[in-house]
């Protein structure tokens, strides 16, 4: 079990496999996945219909991902350095959107 830390941007706990999205890409829909990206944009919002949680590299409680996560009631941790690289091969990601702690197994 490995641990990363960031900023808790939307409260709650979640767990699921990673769904990696590019800066501009949509990604494939995976219900119950944890969305992981450098940054999330408004046009990717429909992904929030089914994801379990969000982890982004870009930090800030007012970035798009944080705002969307709070609107959809999805736990989110932002400002996690190298999240895309480090979580790409994770089997399960667990995140706490209150404390900003992300743990994962590979």
């Amino acid at each position: 079990m490995m641990t990363l830390s960031g900023i808790g941007a939307s409260p709650g706990r979640a767990a699921g496999p990673p769904l990696i999205v590019g800066d501009e890409g949509e990604g494939a829909a995976t219900a119950g996945a944890v969305l992981v990206g450098r940054v999330i944009h408004p046009h990717q919002a429909p992904l929030f219909l089914s994801i379990a949680g969000v982890v982004t590299e870009d930090g800030g409680a007012l970035q798009h991902a944080a705002i969307l996560a709070r609107e959809f009631g999805v736990p989110a941790v932002v400002g996690v350095a190298d999240a895309v690289t480090r979580l790409a091969t994770a089997r399960v990601i667990r995140l706490d959107g209150t404390t900003g702690v992300v743990t994962f197994e590979v």
């Binding site: 501009e24 046009h43 219909l49 969307l68 609107e71």
Partner: protein, 335 residues
Amino acid sequence: MRTLRDHLVGLPLQKSVFARLGDAGPQLGVPELEVDDGVALADDGRLLVADGFMSRTAAALCDRSPESVRVQAGSVRVATSRLETATERTTNGDPLSSILAVGAALRSFIAIPILGKAVTDALLARLRDAGFEGPAPHPRPSPGLRLTSDLVALGDACARTGWSPEEIAATWPEVPEPVRLLVESFAADHVGFGPMPWDAPGWEHPAYVVSHLVTIAGRVRRLPDDEVPPAPDLGAGHVAMLYDALAAWLEATERGLVLVRRAFYVGIRPQLVDAAAQLGTRPSDLLFVTFDELATSLPSPGELADRREAYVANRSYLETHGVDVSGLEALVVRP
């Protein structure tokens, strides 16, 4: 260190939107703010801009006199409104001047959503320091939530016609007219939602909408309610000024990507065909010139060919953003 423009956008016309970032400081009433194209738009693989640059920028913009911050918020609103107005204005009969008007508005606006990533956090921190504990005044519903809610409603409307998303996708565009009109209307209503590169597929394309109807089919419909909290009564003091400034920056930052993309599809694209005829060139050639060149003189045909060749050869950019170069000609037709 790569230049972000080369990674983020590929068409020279769009790249030239970023050409006057240095004007951002004076525009926002902070003349000492240095927003340099080479520094501000650098990409070290993780960050859009260097941490140091962003913290300096946020300090320069936020730690000013209350009057200065108020004026700055006004400048943000003016630049946003100017871009919206230029985008929606129909041609004045001179397609080239219409394109240049949208280009000028884009150039005045573009620094705001870039700087907004840091400024909004800094303004919120100062609001918290001043004792404000309420929620930040970002647009509600957010643009992303509005898109999602409308997409779910579109799926429901299509279902009422007896057509499933999979059936629509399998036969598109040969679907019954009511279904086609539903999808095309959705696409028209959501022009601007999409990636930063104008040449990458986005929600203005009906086929793109159809593909996402399939994607959301059967998903958990976890749509939040539309309840918007009332604006707090903050009086007219320092906290109220910070709150209003944050609202202005959040509005521009949250909607920035949509406004920039919409400016092309609504404000520029319809004029390109006529402007090309006026200038005696192929419509798609105008994607490979800069706004400054549009205002003065076009590059030689050889130079345009070189630029097009370099664009087509940039496989990394094209693959990253899902750009189909065979779609360039279709990008510059009247919708």
